[in-house]
């Protein structure tokens, strides 16, 4: 009951936030929290619940970004159609790569996902029609319109779209947690052979997990493209993005509903504010702090900040 009230209060607070904070910067920080939060939530479905650690999620993000952007720039379609197409393409791609990659387990799987990410990035860098290494601009259209998914006057609409993506990811995760598929995912995570011996179709459950995860990640990619108006292989297909998505979830708490959101709420402001305070010279400082935080978390509480909070909560009651 208390928890429900607190959640509703939090939801109300984020809904009125743009009315209170009218400057672009605080809104931008929140948008980035929502975006990275939703990416980490999507990653968490595959890695946290199903136990398949992917370090190649930038591929799905990139598919979302490139599909919508190319459809806008080359065919004049609305980015919303591109968003749906990008998600669908990411799902299809995930199923195709999953066949060989899921034959590997544990660390070998993680390494294979890095390889997939690097291959796709290299291919796009050499693909002239898609802009190659120079990237693609989203054609600017005025005036602002929801149809064109471009808002130059105010970030408020971006804010709500990003919030919507995050809430969608959370809703899917919540549904999964309670559905039998969520249990199958966790069974696969904890003991593949035992799951198989009970009749769980391990391969099919993994394919399901990566499909959901890939589709949600691609939605974030389209959002990013429409927010930044420029994508290139370095910004949307890089290994560092894949690792960042993973770090956000690990810091907050893998395999928990709120962990990825908490991780984003801590890491994104850290990154944005160090950039503001230190400018270009502070470029990598946020990464140094991430690294330190991850080490502290790994040693003290592998369940992440959410796990730490749960432990403190138990300590207070007990």
């Amino acid at each position: 009951m208390v928890k429900r009230t607190a959640l509703l209060a939090l939801l109300a607070a984020v809904l009125v936030f743009p009315a209170v904070f009218t400057l672009p910067f605080p809104r931008h920080v929140m948008i980035m929290i929502f975006l990275y939060g939703s990416l980490a939530v999507a990653w968490n479905i595959l890695a946290g619940y199903c136990g398949q650690i992917s370090l190649g999620h930038a591929v799905f993000f990139g598919i979302g970004a490139y599909t919508s952007t190319l459809l806008v720039a080359r065919a004049g379609l609305t980015p919303w159609a591109g968003m749906a197409a990008g998600a669908a393409l990411a799902v299809v791609f995930s199923q195709a790569v999953a066949f060989p990659v899921f034959r590997l387990r544990g660390h070998y799987f993680a390494i294979a996902t890095i390889a997939v990410g690097e291959i796709v990035q290299t291919l796009v860098i050499n693909w002239d029609w898609a802009g190659g290494a120079r990237g693609v601009f989203v054609p600017i259209k005025r005036p602002d319109s929801l149809w064109n998914f471009q808002f130059h006057e105010s970030k408020a609409l971006y804010y709500y779209v990003a919030l919507g993506l995050l809430l969608l990811g959370l809703a899917v995760t919540r549904w999964l947690e309670r559905s039998r598929h969520g249990y199958y995912f966790r069974a696969v995570r904890e003991d593949q052979q035992a799951a198989a011996s009970l009749g769980v179709n391990v391969a099919r459950e993994k394919h399901r997990a990566i499909a959901v995860s890939a589709g949600l990640t691609a939605l974030g990619g389209t959002f990013y493209a429409q927010y930044i108006f420029f994508i290139d292989p370095e910004s949307v297909l890089s290994l560092s993005l894949s690792i960042l998505i993973c770090l956000v979830a690990v810091l907050g708490g893998v395999g928990t509903l709120w962990g990825p959101v908490v991780g984003a709420a801590v890491l994104v402001p850290l990154s944005e504010y160090t950039r503001v305070w230190l400018g270009g010279t502070g470029r990598a400082l946020d990464v140094v702090i991430y690294g330190a935080l991850i080490m502290v978390i790994a040693v003290l509480q592998p369940a992440g900040l959410v796990g730490l909070a749960a432990r403190l909560g138990r300590g207070r009651r007990g």
């Binding site: 249990y183 069974a187 003991d191 035992a194 198989a196 009970l198 009749g199």
Partner: protein
């Protein structure tokens, strides 16, 4: 007598290493059969191959006369073969109740799972008494009961149990043996692995002995108990 499960001339390799050499056994409906043999004889490999976790290089496995050789594990569960793995292999961070429900994965089991859960909980009260506890917090004996309960959720005709008594206190062993008899009385055929010959043959009606991957002996519990071959294999005498 038509066999429920029949294994013929099974060759299984783990990597490059051949573990089973022409292994065979047959289990009739309603029986309790023990699979005996020293460490490394290939007992677990045999069960893992029957349940589809491993693929044989050669040989045939039939269930009720229909071949199931090489089918994936989830299909074989759907045919009515349950498999409780060695060392229980519960999902440690799921609750007892969640563990048991996970046993009702295949579509056939999903339909009647509430009724089956009640039946299973009657056999193993620990399933409801400790339902909300994480599986890894249970004692070894309780975990084994939960593993059996989970294996029964798919309503198997044949339940294969890999070393159910491993590491349990004598009192718990007796309790568990009684539970296995009760499962059998409800019409489930049992094939189990055990290294303690005396214990195994007190529970089983018949037994098979594997040695170095070959089926070397079989017979009724009575015959095996008196067999000099069993004495030689297990006591080295």
């Amino acid at each position: 007598m038509r066999a429920l499960l029949e294994v013929r001339d099974l060759d299984v390799l783990l990597g490059d290493y051949q573990v089973l050499w022409g292994a065979r056994l047959a289990v009739a409906p309603g029986e309790i059969v023990a699979l005996l043999g020293p460490n490394g004889a290939g007992k677990s490999t045999l069960l893992n191959t029957v349940s589809g976790l491993l693929r044989p290089r050669a040989g045939a496995i039939t269930l009720d006369g229909a071949p199931i050789t090489g089918l994936p594990a989830h299909r074989i569960v759907g045919r009515g073969v349950g498999h409780v793995l060695e060392r229980r292999r519960l999902f440690p961070y799921l609750t007892v109740r969640q563990n048991v429900w996970l046993g009702a994965y295949h579509p056939g089991a999903r339909a009647g799972r509430e009724a089956q859960f009640e039946r299973v909980a009657r056999l193993f009260p620990v399933v409801t008494a400790r339902g909300a506890q994480l599986a890894h917090t249970l004692s070894g004996g309780e975990q084994q009961m939960v593993a059996l309960a989970r294996g029964l959720m798919a309503r198997p005709r044949l339940l294969m149990i890999d070393e159910p008594f491993l590491g349990l206190a004598p009192r718990v062993v007796a309790e568990l043996a009684e539970a296995i008899r009760a499962i059998n009385r409800e019409g489930v055929t049992i094939l189990f692995i055990e290294q303690n010959v005396e214990l195994a043959l007190s529970l089983a009606g018949r037994g098979y002995v594997l040695e170095s991957g070959r089926s070397v002996l079989d017979g009724t519990a009575e015959a095996l108990r008196r067999s000099p071959g069993v004495r030689r294999i297990f006591l080295g005498g």
